[in-house]
Amino acid sequence: MGVTEKHMSRDKKKRPPAGQFITTQFNSLLGWARKFSLFHYPFVTACCGMEYMSAACAHFDIDRFGAGWTRFSPRQSDMLLVVGTITHKEAPVLRTVYEQMTEPKWVVAFGTCAVSGGIYDNYAVVQGIDRIIPVDIYIPGCPPRPETVLDGLLKLQEKIQHQDQDWRWKKRTY
């Protein structure tokens, strides 16, 4: 420690120390920052919630990937996890929650019911949440194992890194 400081102070006058600047594009810098600070809102309705709890807790620890902070308010979160079956009665609630979230926002369909209705092909269940809101990542499984959830999260991060960051907060059109 002492040696380094002495070395640094001696060299300071001669030339600027290395590592003081980086070259990047603002788009990828913003993507890098966004993908590791995902605040998620778990819209937990059904069975998949159990696996969501497992993924979020100590054994699998979603925090390792920068998505550890669960916000229970849609206004404070930017990743909407739709965990479980969405029935026709629940659908307007989900739509409201999605619209309350501020841009930028991403939606994860967690489990087969959210992806496609799953085994509940009947009068009561919405056949996939992409009929109501746009979806970024689909995680299959009934329910998905926590490893699958983490894999889906990594894929979402990759998507965020490479997308057009929309950093002037333009109005999104669907």
Binding site: F43, V44, T45, A46, C47, G49, M50, E51, M53, S54, C57, A58, H59, F72, S73, G84, T85, T87, K89, E90, V93, L94, V97, I119, Y120, N122, Y123, A124, V125, C142, P143, R145
Partner: protein, 441 residues
């Protein structure tokens, strides 16, 4: 359309909506509160946000095929739901289940009960602000799910308990994993007792809050830990013993006051009793299975060798990966032809076996119980989990009704929170263990 509470509300009060998407309403339920300041004058509970048409769907599935739907009723303890449905059908058919399968069923349903209670209390404690308890209990649940996964091949939705027995035998390492899970769970229970039992904040929010009298509890149709917290001794495992429960040594913990704290404490004590049952069942299980002596080479070694030579040795697969081999049948599945999946050796090698296979799986054939109706109940995580099946002699139930324990428990929520504060809704609701899949079906 105005609801009841909107019509009845006094003009000077405030209506507040809790749910269906609310941080403290785990699961989907909507509670409309009529408030005078912080005090709840009146409330209305609206259910049905997770109605997935379970009962109607079952009328279009064969008795064998509708098993996966029962996994998703009380999704915290799927194996008990499997057991309830399967034993109802077995009662109709009169199937006798082998001794070893009965022990495995008891083991699995008690492990599920522990995971159910752990999840309920974890959510309840988290909503009261005790996040440490939540993390500890989830840790214990993972160890229990390790046992379940090793045995059934799935973590949650297992479809493991089949008509006539169970799907696969226990793994050879079962005892090791079970011992670890039991030890870890005991440790967590001890920690949680230390964290919560004398915790002033927790006690203030739960002690003497939402007190239920035994008379009201019975009148509402409460069962399970919630009923026992009021001091009423009713446990399906003791009152109408099934499987091997009457041969094991265990107690039914009872509460005294019927408040939130008693509901918490009864669940904690029940987990200790479940661990006792698990240990006894694991010690008494008949050691006759070939799985315990099964040898063979590792699958990876077999694949490697198969590139050079024909592998003739047996391959040691996990029992839940194997199919329905005939030599396992006497231990874990009933021998009745037509009620259980025919052995694969016969299906692939003989014409009679192939016909048996087709007869089992073809529409209009398969399991066809006699005409009539039957009700059977097991002790689920929340209480008496009953299945009522009406059969018209075809391969599909004419009507299937589920007696969901938490439906009756949630029905009393309006009475329990009347006159209390808004903050009391959260521990009260948490201690009830509302499970959407079971409540709304």
């Amino acid at each position: 359309m105005p609801t009841r509470i909107q019509k009845e509300a006094r003009p000077d009060t405030m209506l507040l909506n809790m749910g269906p998407s609310h941080p403290a309403m785990h699961g989907t339920i909507r509670i409309m509160l009529e408030l005078d300041g912080e005090r709840i004058l009146n409330s209305e509970v609206e259910v049905g946000y997770l109605h997935r048409g379970f009962e109607k769907t079952c009328e279009h599935r064969t008795y064998f095929n509708l098993l996966p739907y029962t996994d998703r009723l009380n999704y915290v303890s799927p194996l008990i739901n499997n057991l309830g449905y399967v034993m109802t059908v077995e009662k109709m058919l009169g199937v006798v289940v082998p001794e070893r399968a009965q022990h495995i069923r008891v083991l699995m349903s008690e492990l599920s009960r522990i995971s159910d209670h752990l999840t309920c209390l974890a959510a309840m404690a988290m909503e009261c602000g005790a996040f440490t308890v939540f993390l500890y209990k989830m840790k214990a649940r993972e160890f229990i799910w390790d046992v379940i996964e090793q045995t059934t091949g799935a973590r949650m939705t297992t479809s493991y308990i089949r008509i006539g027995g169970v799907r696969a035998d226990l793994h050879t390492d079962f005892d090791v994993v079970l011992k670890k899970a039991v030890a870890e769970t005991r440790g967590v229970l001890k920690d949680v007792h230390g964290l919560l039992d004398k915790n002033k904040i927790f006690l203030n929010r739960t002690r003497d809050v939402a007190v239920m009298s035994p008379e009201d509890a019975v009148a509402y149709g409460w069962t399970g830990p919630c009923l026992r917290s009021t001091g009423v001794l009713y446990d399906v495992r003791k009152a109408f013993p099934y499987l091997i429960y009457d041969r094991l040594n265990w107690d039914v913990p009872l509460g005294e006051r019927g408040d939130n704290f008693d509901r918490y404490l009864v669940r904690m004590r029940e987990m200790e009793q479940s661990l006792r049952i698990v240990e006894q069942a694991a010690a008494r299980i008949p050691k006759t299975s070939p799985a315990l002596t099964a040898g063979g080479i590792e699958p990876s070694a077999a694949i490697r060798d198969s590139r050079r030579r024909r592998v003739r040795e047996a391959v040691a697969l996990s029992p839940n990966l194997e199919g329905s081999e005939e030599y396992r049948y006497p231990d874990i599945l009933a021998s009745d032809k037509g009620y259980v999946v025919p052995p694969k050796e016969e299906t692939y090698t003989s014409i009679e076996g192939l016909i048996n296979h087709f007869k089992f799986f073809m529409r209009g054939h398969g399991i066809r119980p006699p005409k009539g109706d039957v009700y059977f109940a097991v002790e689920g995580g929340n209480g008496e989990l009953g299945f009522y099946i009406v059969s018209d002699g075809t391969d599909r139930p004419y009507r299937l009704h589920l007696r969901a324990p938490c439906f009756h428990i949630v029905a009393a929520l309006e009475q329990l929170i009347r006159g209390r504060y808004v903050a009391d809704v959260i521990p009260t609701f948490g201690s009830m263990n509302m499970i959407g899949g079971e409540l709304d079906r």
